[in-house]
Amino acid sequence: MNEHINKQRLFDYFAGKSTALEKKQIDEWSREPAHQEQFYHWLDEWEQAHRQFTTNLPVTFSRYHDFLYAEQSAATNLSTAEETPFRSIRPFGRRTWLLWAVAASVTLLVGLFAFRDQLLTRTYETAYGETRVVNLPDGSAVTLNSNSSLQIPRFSFGKQWLDIPWFGSPTRQVGLTGEALFSVTHTTTNQRFVVNTANAEVVVLGTEFTVFARPRGTKVVLNRGKVEVHYQQPDRQSRQVTMKPGDLLSLTPKGELTHQQMQQPPANPAWTEHRFVFDKTPLTEIVAILAENYGLTAEIADAETGQMTISGAYSAKTADELLRIIAEVLNIDIDRKSDKLILTQKLLQ
């Protein structure tokens, strides 16, 4: 097949017009030492016909001539000549590749550490006035009241075979700020379900209960089943209380506990149906509820007004609806000044 290799073939090849098969043939042909001479001969001929640019031959030639006939300085000339190809142009900027790689890895590690909570836990949040049902992987359901957040381990929720900090634990752990109703399913392995709040842990096997965990305290209402509440007393000793259905447990931020039995435990907390149930609830607490559920700041004009109480069950989907109801029932004026509400008693005419 080597007979096919001729000058035209090679010229096409030099110009990049050969097929892959032709290239292969030429490659094989050129491996033979005898053909190499021929190859370079044609290459030279082709370059003569297809010059890329013209050099300033007289100038470079006279420089070469000087080099040849300046024996004594030949060595120095040569050494500078050796450096020239890599001196004149620096086509690509020098980047210290390794330094960048190290810097990037360090940044990544620091970032992973700084955001480990975000990476390892999934957070469900509700806005003011929003309620939301979250279904957990173990079949439990959590109904979040407004302005609340629930943290669930992203990878290790309920994975019993893992017991590594951040990565797994033999219990089902969730975190809560705000208010939520938990419907916890019972697992065959009696795996415990733990709700972590700022100052207490609610430990469950399988039951239904409400946890209220806001800055003004923690409350637990048990609907069904049995739960344990672990908390820290003001003297920093940790205590635990076992609750029975219908129990209401209140914990102040300092750790003072009140335990009371409700006459009629509700099937569901009122807020899950956008209802508000008040039982001689003072206006000061209503103000707290407004702040917690709708992010509204309200101010009571005088102490006397703050002592007014409200009772009954009311349905309100928005803050405005609730405010209108309160204003009507208590016969008070509510003035809105930008973000702030001012509650004043109506003057008797």
């Binding site: 190499q36 370079y40 040569l78 004149s88 330094l99």
Partner: protein, 223 residues
């Protein structure tokens, strides 16, 4: 060395005339001994031989080199260096192939090494360039060099027109950023960005196919 003829008349023959006579011969026969004249000159005086060689091949070698390195200054430096070594290290005494074959082969090797160094330097491993180039890292067949310079050519062709123009002004003509900016009415910053993008583009296109060997250097450096 080859057996030389007995006549001295050839010394008087004009190289150009000699060239045209050579071209008239059938190609297969032309190859063997068209350098006889230059070889005679080397026997007389190495300097004379070098000069003839320089006049005869400098231009075409530069033209060939620039296909790889895409910079006329670098191509000329590369070729000039080979001619200097050819004399200083008395290479002409030791070669067993024709001058032409030696010169072209050397130009292609050097151009290949240059390309590799620039691409490697861009990868930031300055140490790498001090490691010797072993024969194993060179293309294993002479025909592969054609593929390399054609890939370089194609890579340049794929640049957007404006970027290619700026790239060639900078690399091929060796113009400074400011000169190009003046000439094209652009900001120096734009020129700089265009050249950097072009360089990265070319490097990315060439690296994987031709210079994958440097992965060894990188992994060796880390571990």
């Amino acid at each position: 060395m080859r057996q030389t003829g007995s006549t001295r008349i050839e010394l008087a023959v004009d190289p150009i005339l000699f060239q045209s006579m050579d071209a008239a011969l059938p190609d297969e026969l032309a190859a063997p001994d068209d350098e006889l004249f230059i070889r005679r000159a080397f026997e007389q005086d190495a300097r004379l031989g070098c000069e003839l060689l320089f006049r005869r091949y400098y231009d075409t070698l530069c033209s060939h080199a620039v296909r790889f390195v895409s910079s006329r200054a670098i191509a000329e430096d590369l070729v000039a260096e080979i001619f200097c070594q050819f004399y200083a290290e008395k290479v002409f005494q030791t070669i067993t192939v024709s001058y032409r074959a030696y010169l072209y082969k050397t130009v292609r090797h050097r151009a290949y090494n240059y390309l590799r160094q620039t691409i490697r330097r861009d990868t930031g491993l300055e140490e790498a360039q001090y490691q010797g180039v072993s024969a194993a890292q060179q293309p294993d067949a002479i025909a592969q060099y054609e593929e390399l310079y054609q890939d370089v050519e194609r890579a340049i062709q794929t640049l957007p027109i404006q970027r290619r123009r700026i790239y060639l002004l900078h690399h091929f003509d060796g113009k400074k950023y400011a000169e190009i900016a003046d000439e094209l009415g652009l900001s120096t910053r734009t020129v700089e960005v265009q050249i950097r993008r072009a360089s990265h583009h070319l490097r990315d296109l060439l690296k994987d196919k031709w210079f994958i060997g440097m992965l060894w250097v990188i992994t060796g450096y880390i571990s």
